[in-house]
């Protein structure tokens, strides 16, 4: 006979399964064995600590030993590390094994209580707060309110102001480099000037501007100055006449600092004449004025206007016509 009910009844909670006793709970031999196992684990930890101490005191820093699969390992570092690992790990294993095999296993029940405070407590709180706020009487004391608001407002300014000397204002720093009209290109490293006639077709040279103290260039200059010099055959260029005029007999110069996020564009693919930035793979086509042909860069690499001086050394004819490196709000990119 089926009972008909309109309500869908959920299956009732059968209560937990009957408790299964562990070996150590019933068998004294198992109990003793578990104790011995815990003791061995603690002992292994001790071995680890001794290994660490031995490696620290007695093993020299420059001894290398060969371990299969791993190769040559620094003996002291390996001894210290394995020793530390053992001393920590086996203490943990001992504690857990002890808890699992020997410590009381019965589960305990705690009861939850509703978080919401009682209505009485809530009313008492509201009363207390109201009385306290009434004591302030901010509504009545308009003069205090206005004076306090003004002083709080002024209070907010000094913490911000005190941070002003964190750094200088940008001013023109993002727009200027050490490249001026007549600056010689020098090799990086080496700081040697470059004769145009010394560059063969296919050559790629990393250059920096010749400055007064070439040995001690500030890093913030090195973040903007590097220029890549590439020599191609003049007929390989596909440039506007304006850009072509900035080259010299097939030698073209670009800023090495990526126009995307400022990494050094250090990878050059000879066969395709592509410059690749290793950070986000922006690819620039040298034959078309470092035009972006792949990747997230939005602007071509700035081109340096180059020519040769009276002795035949490569020089910049003018500073960069645009800011080098990543874009920023104030950059006039048109």
């Amino acid at each position: 006979m089926r009972t008909v009910s309109n309500e869908i009844e959920s299956i009732k909670d059968p209560g937990p399964a009957p408790h299964v006793l562990r070996a150590a709970d019933v068998n004294p031999r198992s109990e003793k064995r578990a104790e011995q196992q815990v003791a061995i684990l603690f002992a292994l930890s001790g071995v680890g600590s001794l290994l660490l101490i031995y490696s620290y005191v007695f093993v020299a820093k420059d001894v290398f030993i060969f371990i299969p699969v791993m190769g040559n390992q620094n003996a002291q570092q390996l001894g210290l590390g394995i020793g530390m690992a053992m001393s920590l790990f086996f203490v943990g294993m001992a504690a857990i094994h002890w808890a699992k095999t020997l410590m009381p296993e019965t589960e305990v029940i705690n009861y939850r209580h509703e978080f919401r405070s009682s209505d009485e407590d809530r009313e008492d709180l509201i009363k207390t707060v109201k009385e306290g706020v009434a004591g302030v009487q901010l509504g009545r004391r308009k003069l205090i309110k206005r004076a306090m608001a003004a002083s709080m407002g002024l209070f907010a300014l000094p913490p911000v102001l005190l941070l002003r000397d964190l750094g200088p204002l940008p001013k023109k720093q993002l727009e200027t480099t050490n490249w001026k009209s007549g600056t010689r290109l020098v090799t990086d490293p080496g700081n040697r000037p470059i004769l145009a006639s010394d560059l063969e077709v296919g050559a790629v040279v990393q250059t920096l501007p010749a400055v007064a103290d070439s040995e001690h260039r500030p890093l913030s200059d090195i973040a903007k100055d590097p220029v890549l010099l590439i020599r191609l055959r003049p007929e390989e260029f596909n440039l506007t006449s304006e850009k072509l005029a900035m080259t010299h007999e097939g030698i073209i110069a670009f800023s090495k600092i990526c126009s995307h996020m400022g990494c050094a564009v250090a990878l050059y693919e000879q066969t395709t004449k592509h410059l690749l930035c290793p950070c986000h793979q922006s690819t620039f086509d040298v034959t078309r004025g470092a035009k972006v042909i792949f990747g997230p860069a939005a602007r071509p690499l700035p081109q340096l206007d180059i020519t040769v001086d009276a002795q035949g050394y490569l020089i910049a004819r003018a500073p960069f016509s645009e800011s080098v490196g990543p874009s920023y709000w104030e950059r006039n990119s048109q």
Partner: protein, 528 residues
């Protein structure tokens, strides 16, 4: 009383006469914590944090957080005589001259990676089991703050040695800051103390990394754990477990032994990794100079997804009225992560808005019983995985002889196409699992034993599942879709028509489920 008991008693008396602690200590020692392996993920985070504090303190005793230029005269031959910052030189000294220095550096870096991985795993566990629901929404938000802080702390940490790889990462960081409209260049110049790389950044991130951010971490982690203590931990559904109780082992002695032991396990495994697996070998990278770079430059994995987004961003910039806005940087590095993290932080409130459920929840969900939430989680994981894979597109191209162009284009398409597909597939799998549960309850477990009936028919013997298992498979609540009438009994129209339509639709989708086995259906089956 034994001598030990007398001594402990004297100490306890001394303390109790001054702060009267017996009451709450007794309560605390009797407190119960439910047992499940997935609850240990949060513990791994906490223990890794302690390991980071200990190993980090060791490193600060020898590290020189200065960008002043020195000539290296230490034992590592390939770098002898080279110009480098004091930060880099002191890191080389820690690695090669301080006994245990390299081990501590590696423990610190491995622990940081384990910390971030455990945070992600813990976040996913809390998400998929619905532990973020009332009353734990605030704790969830604290967790999102912790994962964000962890990202920043890790970035600063691996940038401190001032090597070529991490310095390149800082160059990218400064480009992101610089790209912020109106104030970007000012913030960048103030943070770096001038034009990149400046002379002040390493000492400043040292203070942030060693003092300020760990301080914030300590405060937030304390509140996070105290909330779990006070609100009591959630538990998985099962026999004897209700919304009004917590079933488990008391703190003294079992939980203390297991949890305390687990700390030593985590520390031991981290130390073992540090002993045998090299990480961040900065001597191979060389000191940072902005004019150089290595091919295959990658950030640490937890930043890798951001790099992947940046790599696949289209080359969009707006040049107008003498100003530039770099969408190709702002969208992947600030806007998309901003939306992702804000969405994550607000999710408990979004879900309770969809379901209209304002009750407390202390029993966890089995992920299959909340198909919509589970599918949303898998969709987000898919999104982050595609970005992460694209973050290594150059390594993938070199290792597997693929075209970088193809990988990047595949990622651009995949990131729009794969997440919705993942959503649909996951939801379907969850519903199938619900069906499988139903079958298990009604017909029992397939034993694989075949019996031939007298009639010649072969049947597979099914064994009924235990009462306890049956309860676990049917104790969950099945959500009902929200009903919002257009107007109430007096004819007053409900405001927010469009919002309510969206809410009802989402609620209907959220409630899609296979009906669970009821007591009546079970009785009917038992009569067969």
């Amino acid at each position: 009383m034994t001598t030990a008991e007398k001594r402990v008693g004297a100490v306890a008396n001394f303390v109790d006469e001054r702060i009267g602690a017996a009451g709450w200590v007794k309560k605390s020692l009797n407190k119960v914590f439910p047992d499940h392996w997935s609850f240990m993920l949060g513990e791994v985070c906490m223990y890794s944090f302690v390991i980071l504090l200990l190993s980090g303190t060791f490193l600060t005793l020898w590290f020189d957080p200065s960008q002043r230029e020195v000539i290296y005269q230490g034992v590592y031959e390939p770098l002898k005589g080279l110009k480098m910052s004091a930060a880099y030189a002191s890191t080389l000294d820690i690695s090669f001259e301080v006994r245990g220095g390299l081990l501590m550096r590696q423990i610190h870096h491995w622990s940081a990676n384990i910390f971030m991985a455990a945070i992600v795993a813990h976040l996913l566990r809390v998400f998929f089991t619905g532990a973020f629901r009332k009353p734990r929404e605030f704790n969830w938000i604290l967790g999102i703050i912790l994962v964000t802080l962890g990202l920043v702390e890790g970035l600063f940490g691996y940038s401190l040695p001032d090597d070529l790889l991490s310095g390149t990462g800082l160059r990218i960081t400064s480009a992101i800051i610089q790209a912020i409209p109106l104030v970007g260049t000012y913030i960048s110049f103030f943070l770096f103390g001038g034009a990149f790389p400046g002379v002040a950044f390493i000492p400043r991130i040292f203070t942030l990394h060693v003092l300020l951010i760990p301080g914030i971490f300590l405060a937030v982690i304390t509140i996070h754990v105290m909330l779990v203590w006070y609100q009591k931990h959630t538990q998985f559904p099962g026999p004897g477990k209700t919304e009004n109780n917590v079933v488990g082992h008391p703190i003294l002695p079992v939980y203390m032994a297991k949890a305390g032991g687990f700390f030593f396990i985590v520390f031991g495994v981290t130390a073992f990794l540090a002993a045998v697996a090299s990480i961040n070998p900065i001597w191979l990278y060389g000191p940072y100079t902005p004019g150089q770079i290595s091919a295959g430059s990658q950030p640490d994995w937890y930043m890798g997804w951001l790099d992947g987004l940046v790599r696949m961003a289209p080359p969009w910039e707006t040049h107008a009225l003498g100003h530039t806005i770099s969408w190709n940087i702002l969208i992947p590095a600030l806007i998309v992560p901003g939306i992702l993290f804000t969405g994550m932080a607000l999710y408990p409130f979004i879900e309770s808005w969809i379901t209209g459920d304002k009750r407390e929840h202390h029993l966890l969900d089995r992920p299959r019983n909340v198909p919509n939430r589970t599918a949303l989680g898998v969709m987000s994981i898919t999104f982050v995985m595609i970005s992460l894979i694209n973050g290594g597109n150059d390594i993938l191209a070199t290792a597997f002889h693929l075209s970088i162009n193809q990988i990047m284009w595949s990622s651009r398409i995949a990131i729009f196409v794969l997440p919705p597909i993942a959503f649909v597939i996951t939801k379907r799998i969850c519903l199938s699992l619900q069906r499988a549960d139903r079958e298990l309850v009604l017909h029992g477990r397939e034993t694989g034993r075949l019996v031939r009936m007298p009639s010649g028919e072969f049947v597979e013997v099914h064994e009924p599942i235990s009462e306890q298992k049956r309860f676990i498979l049917t104790s969950h609540e099945q959500p009902t879709p929200l009903v919002l009438e257009d107007s109430d009994s007096r004819g007053v129209k409900r405001p927010g028509k469009l919002k309510n339509k969206l809410r009802v639709r989402l609620s209907k989708a959220h409630a899609v489920a296979i009906p669970k086995v009821s007591a009546q259906e079970l009785k009917e089956i038992e009569h067969h």
